[in-house]
Symmetry: C2
Subunit: 387 residues, 2 copies
């Protein structure tokens, strides 16, 4: 396979856009990414769009075709993918694969979701009863419930504290306040996090990501032509997709998907966790970020609580994590989330991250998990990017 680079990025601030259509949200992100790459829409040769549940939110089929037709992109292969909460990363991965294997030189990946137009009942339907109905769903287990179980077990096995988990939210909201594209922009203290409304013990409201509407897009190109479109093209050093193993034989404090995807991604990039300068990981709940530190090799299993407490995942620490503010600040706009993480890392590697810039960053890791079936995420994507 040949080298691939990111030549353009474009997103819109996640928030409430009930007055706009899903199509219009997608268009704006795509136009921004194409302009950022100094291209015209007609330069795009293939496109993948990530969208989780347009139907459930009241939108139409073939959203990719509808978006792209409006901005003058026709004829080319356009495919919508869905992979639970990792849907956006799946679109990026497929676009990367097409360029890497020479099917085309220029591909567009974008994700779009409009969740705030749906009723709470619909949202609950999607994230509770529908995931694997015969098992978790019918037993009333929702995402906060599953992650709360993981948190309790992590506390029991490793002595992780409520304070440490709260610190994940404090850190991410601190950086979110520096990111003009974050949805929640107010910093919070440990005390505020712990005193806030309990969602599922030990997870309080600021430890659970909000939802929202939004879109994110990236233009991928063959590395050999990248300089034509970007003065600082960012290489895709690894792009990995795995699915769950759902093991019965280990305790509930590790994602087997993370471990296998990370191993494959490090191997593909010829790097190790020690080479990573910063990362965006799937912090749908505070405890998830702690578990990801461990599973991605940023620290030893069980040390995740101390890793955040000692500042290792903050800017200036060993591996700054979620400098965008993470899902906890930006919100989890499912189809767009994975590509939104990539946008943050591209900004960082380009040196365009303003008040949250990680100085000298050259290698960055993106992690996005999808679904939660019986002790494991259903899918996991990891990308490693290099300046």
């Amino acid at each position: 396979m040949r080298a691939v680079a990111i030549a353009g990025i474009g997103g819109i601030r996640f928030g409430k856009y009930g007055d706009r259509s899903l199509r219009v949200l997608g268009e704006e992100a795509c136009i921004k990414a194409i302009r950022d790459a100094g291209m015209k829409p007609r330069d795009i040769q293939a496109a993948y769009v990530g969208n989780l549940a347009q139907w459930e939110w009241g939108q139409g089929l073939l959203i990719g075709h509808s978006v792209l037709r409006e901005i003058g992109i026709t004829k080319i292969p356009i495919t919508r993918v869905e992979n639970g909460c990792a849907t956006g990363s799946n679109a990026f991965h497929e676009a990367w694969y097409r360029v890497a294997t020479g099917a085309c030189d220029i591909a567009l990946a974008f994700g779009v979701e409009q969740m705030t137009v749906a009723s709470s009942e619909k949202i609950l339907n999607v994230f509770t009863g529908r995931q694997h109905a015969e098992r978790d769903g019918d037993m009333g287990n929702s995402a906060p419930g599953l992650f709360a179980l993981m948190a309790r077990r992590h506390m029991e096995e490793f002595g992780t504290t409520r304070n440490q988990m709260a610190m994940v939210a404090v850190k991410n909201r601190k950086y979110g306040a520096r990111n003009p594209e974050a949805q929640l922009t107010r910093s919070v203290t440990v005390e505020e996090v712990l005193k806030d409304r309990m969602i599922c013990d030990p997870l309080t409201l600021p430890q659970c990501c909000p939802r929202g509407d939004g879109a994110a897009a990236a233009v991928l190109v063959a590395a050999k032509i990248a300089r034509k479109y970007s003065s600082v093209p960012i290489s895709v050093a690894a792009s990995v997709q795995v699915s769950g193993t759902y093991p019965d034989d280990r305790s509930y404090t590790c994602f087997d998907t993370d471990v296998r995807a990370a191993e494959a991604a490090y191997k593909m990039a010829g790097l190790g966790p020690g080479d990573i300068d910063l990362a965006e990981v799937h912090d749908c709940f505070s405890v998830a970020e702690i578990v990801h530190y461990e599973d991605l090799g940023f620290c030893r299993k069980g040390d995740g609580g101390r890793f955040v407490e000692e500042g290792h995942s903050g800017i200036g620490g060993k591996i700054p994590v979620n400098t965008s503010g993470g899902l906890l600040s930006k919100g989890h706009v499912i189809g767009a989330t994975g590509i939104s993480q990539i946008i943050e890392l591209v900004r960082q590697l380009r040196g365009q991250a303003g008040g949250r810039q990680v100085e000298g960053a050259r290698v960055a890791l993106q992690h996005n998990g999808g679904g939660f079936i019986h002790t494991d995420t259903a899918s996991c994507f990891i990308h490693i990017l290099r300046k």
Copy 2:
């Protein structure tokens, strides 16, 4: 790219399975295809699943992971795709591409849909208002309306008759009666077709495909290992995906997607329409099949009505079309339809098509269109298969 072959196929008869889950339908088709290839589930190295609207029909996310986990397929990349009515073909195309480019040696493609559990209101929602809401949808145009316009225009421009269009339904229902996996198994006469309930003039009920529940699966392997799994491996000589051009400058009697996809597919296979021994084409409505004859090069533009009337698309004719009974007999089970077409062609090329066998068939073409936006299908997939 390297040669790819189909080593296993498996489907379930399309029909009403309201008492079973979407997951169980998918499992049965996958198990059949894997057994047909003489494999074990653990041999599968990547999977793509096609499903249009699980949400709208009341089912869950990550359907591919749920199905495959239950039959012991874990860890591997699993991706759901959607591409309107061509969703199943998109899954097949992506699986083909992964094997063709060496990402893996064995990939599973399957499609599953369960439409009869949804209310008529939901069905109408999906196929009317949602496709491109600001245009056709809000003007009340549904699929029967769009194809009826095409039929009227074809009659006006080329003198195509109501009888000729009815003959498409008569032919396909005749073959459906010979296919144990078809949903409608009663033959009909031209008189019956014309006298039946008018859906949208000139299209009567038997000229509009029914919906249904079902699943279809295929196992694709690198050609070099195909003989290990199948005594009659069927080669994929072409796999093409295009999107619409939506031209304003031509009349409403041609799918530009068909023309471009066919040109690319013939070029890829090194063949022309004269080499095709039989075809499965997207006969969602009788008139569509007539237009596809023309756009795929089976006859000249405008001659489609005469092509069916003179028996050229029947068994024994120039190019037998829809020997499975087509969508008009099997039903259009969106996510499964494209792969179901491939299953019929593999059976024919293997010589396993029983009372509807096309003798000596060596080359077959599959055509599946998706969506209908302003004078063009949004997407089109064509596969050419060879014995």
